[in-house]
Symmetry: C2
């Protein structure tokens, strides 16, 4: 079995396990109490806070532990917004933030505030200039991830932080995906992390708020964690989180180089091994352990299932998985193909052999899924030009990747210059038909309203 | 060392430890994922939910896990209030709820809602009739603890639940202190628990919401735990929590009887061993493992410190501890003495020998604290009546228990029928001077405004 989904949750690091066990007997008491069990718990908590703050690059009194990264995001955004309520109620986020950030933004909008989503390029990166342009007089807070969780693209945080500083707007950095690899550079104001992403236990997030940043914790009052994270402290888990962060940092440089070589191997070789694949995400400014690609004419759920049967655990931003009906907002914002999407994120210690086995299994797996979908014909060259100048394909009620498969099947039936109109009501078609055109050098003319769903018009160029 | 503060946090139960270790290797993956590590995590989570629901007495789909009891209270109250927003924004709570409930109530008030606090009798119990009277047309939610965390008094939950049901108001029961001992009786609508109170790990609370109860989760959307508890699930801890709840329930009947006998021993013998002690809380309708008493003329922090040195870890609701400047709201609502307050809450497995050692150490410890405060003279019989018909004692700037000690020292200096007026600005005096009068059969005349603090007037009766 090869677990290749570290970006969802990393297996528990041996140091985390060890620290957790060691502190179970020392860290269960209430650290607010004055008796010895309480003092002992307090000492553990203080030491963990110092270690975590050191790794984050802040003062211990600037950092609190939360029950998860999501809770850290919620608390950080709501607290920073409330702290600058008098400035305004405008929030800037990138379009590719984690759902916890986007859901916080949606909550602000429901509550009468306003949100600007800064778009990204085809590699998934924001432009510092575009980000700076989104800052307004009434901007209370800006949020930017350090690196994207789906495609691994590293964002220009230092540049954006400088622009925010110049505008007097605090920047919250969601560092969940990158904290294992090093501190976040640049002059950020708030920072969020999640322990189970770096091999720490579940149940621990962290929120750093720089001194001087206006912050008003929301929700009912609670004296724990400087009033910023309500509820009894989970000290054994916090100790394990801090110890494992220190441990992964100690091996970060070496593992970064090693895993980067392995993901580079996947990036370089998958397009040759599997026809009609788009590797997405920035090829250079990227996390060392993440590589993402999408396969035309493939149903993401079936592909995941087949890879699981072959012993590989990966995730997908495709809409055609049972957990979601819309394509990943990240792939959508990038404008890249979402069908047959696969994210490989290697945990520490992944070997070259694991990766070679994956590369060995992938082509056959994709081919078998395509065969099952009747999509083998579409990889053949288009037949000779036919007479009909335009065709309409009715893919209403068909889930991805069927509308794209139907399109590919008939494009050869219209002459060069002719059009195919695809009627589809699956949300993924809106993303995947233009992406297909880009990949196959056909022209995407545009979308027209239709009685049901939408009509996507494609012109044959070659 | 004897740890006698299980009501704050219980030491980890061996079964919890075992279950936690066993699930660390199985429960770290994302249970929303379709690959085998995810499915395995989902199975663990589902099994834990079933076990916990069985212990609570609800359906598995009515129960979610939260990061703490406090978070369960916050989510339960805010969700139930929002769900019944159209009915009104009135909340009923007892005056002796846990701070997480009272802070939620305060948040509602800040937000424009209204709150009725139902008082308690001297034993700490609400009256079902008084509780029913507090329910109004616009009452969205009522909250009542199953048992009090500071004095152990068991509340008449079934009767209050019936009154709420009759009025069409959902009742949220904070069962944090009692869940180890058995399910909550009566027709409750929402229920909250906290694993570290029953020997489970920190980081796990539970929130049950009966089908049919209107509920609208607050905060940014999140798909985890039926949308009621945001953030990545802490599955090893949840598994450990459920397993240990089942384990403590299996030994509950036996331990209930055993610990009840031990706390009864403390209740019965402390008044004979230590002069001027008030044992508080209901002597019969009470938790088996909790006993609370207050000692006149004693500084709570010093007493805790001395008991800690003697090897006993207990807690205190006194104001004279470094963590707080006001006496416990529970003791205040009961109208009982707060100075020298000691709560003993026995963990499972406490032996008779532990308790005997405590009873052996306590009298000398209290005496030494009193001696240090110069309070030994006050236990002597009052001297012969003196001539001054009234006296004023200036205790301004003096922290508890000094104002009461000063009062006790001079009461013999006024004739029977004469008065002593104590000037004090310590908040505890407001509670402890009347309580002293009650204990020493003197008349508390009342409080008069003063330039600084307040003037408390006491008439000598004997």
């Amino acid at each position: 079995m090869s677990y290749f989904d570290a970006a969802s949750s990393a297996p528990l690091h041996p140091v985390a396990r060890q620290a957790l066990l060691a502190s179970l007997d020392e860290g269960w008491a209430d650290p607010a109490r004055l008796y010895r069990e309480g003092r002992r718990a307090r000492l553990l908590l203080d030491a963990a806070r110092e270690a975590a703050a050191d790794a984050v690059g802040c003062r211990p009194d600037e950092l609190v532990f939360t029950p998860s990264g999501t809770r850290a995001v919620h608390a950080g955004i709501s607290g920073a917004l409330a702290g600058r309520r008098r400035v305004g109620r405008h929030l800037v986020v990138s379009a590719v933030e984690h759902s916890s950030v986007l859901h916080s933004a949606a909550a602000l909008e429901t509550d009468g505030g306003s949100v600007t989503e800064v778009g990204v390029d085809r590699a998934g990166s924001v432009s510092p200039g575009a980000y700076a342009d989104a800052l307004r007089e009434d901007t209370a807070l800006a949020c930017l991830q350090s690196a994207n969780h789906e495609v691994g693209t590293v964002q220009p945080v230092a540049e954006v932080a400088a622009a925010c500083r110049a505008a007097g707007v605090p920047l919250l950095v969601d560092a969940a995906q990158s904290l294992a690899w090093g501190p976040v550079e640049g002059d950020w104001s708030l920072l969020v992390g999640s322990a189970h992403k770096w091999g720490g236990p579940a149940g621990v997030g962290l929120l750093a708020v720089r001194k001087g940043v206006r912050f008003a914790a929301q929700g009912p009052a609670d004296e724990r964690e400087s009033g910023r994270a309500a509820g009894f402290e989970n000290i054994p888990a916090v100790v394990a989180a801090a110890a494992s962060l220190r441990a992964v940092r100690a091996e970060a440089a070496e593992e970064d180089a090693r895993l980067r070589e392995l993901t580079e191997r996947i990036r370089a070789r998958v397009p040759g091994l599997v026809p009609d694949v788009e590797v997405v995400g920035d090829p250079v400014r990227r996390l060392p352990h993440v590589v993402t690609f999408s396969c035309l004419y493939v149903d993401g759920e079936t592909l995941l299932h087949e890879l699981d049967r072959a012993g590989f655990s990966v995730s997908s931003g495709s809409s055609c998985t049972s957990s979601t009906l819309t394509p990943s907002h990240v792939l959508k914002a990038m404008g890249v193909l979402s069908e047959g999407n696969v994210r490989v994120s290697l945990p520490l210690g992944t070997t070259g052999d694991d990766v070679e086995r994956f590369l060995g299994v992938l082509p056959g797996t994709v081919a078998s899924v395509r065969e099952r979908l009747g999509a083998t014909a579409v990889t053949a060259p288009a037949p000779a030009p036919a007479s009909a100048p335009s065709l309409v394909v009715d893919a209403l009620g068909k889930r991805c990747p069927i509308p794209v498969i139907e399109l590919a099947k008939v494009i050869g039936d219209v002459p060069v210059g002719g059009t195919v109109t695809v009627l589809a009501d699956d949300e993924a078609a809106r993303l995947d038909i233009p992406a297909w055109c880009e990949m196959r050098s056909q022209e995407y003319v545009g979308e027209e309203p239709a009685e049901r769903g939408a009509a996507y018009v494609v012109r044959r160029l070659s």
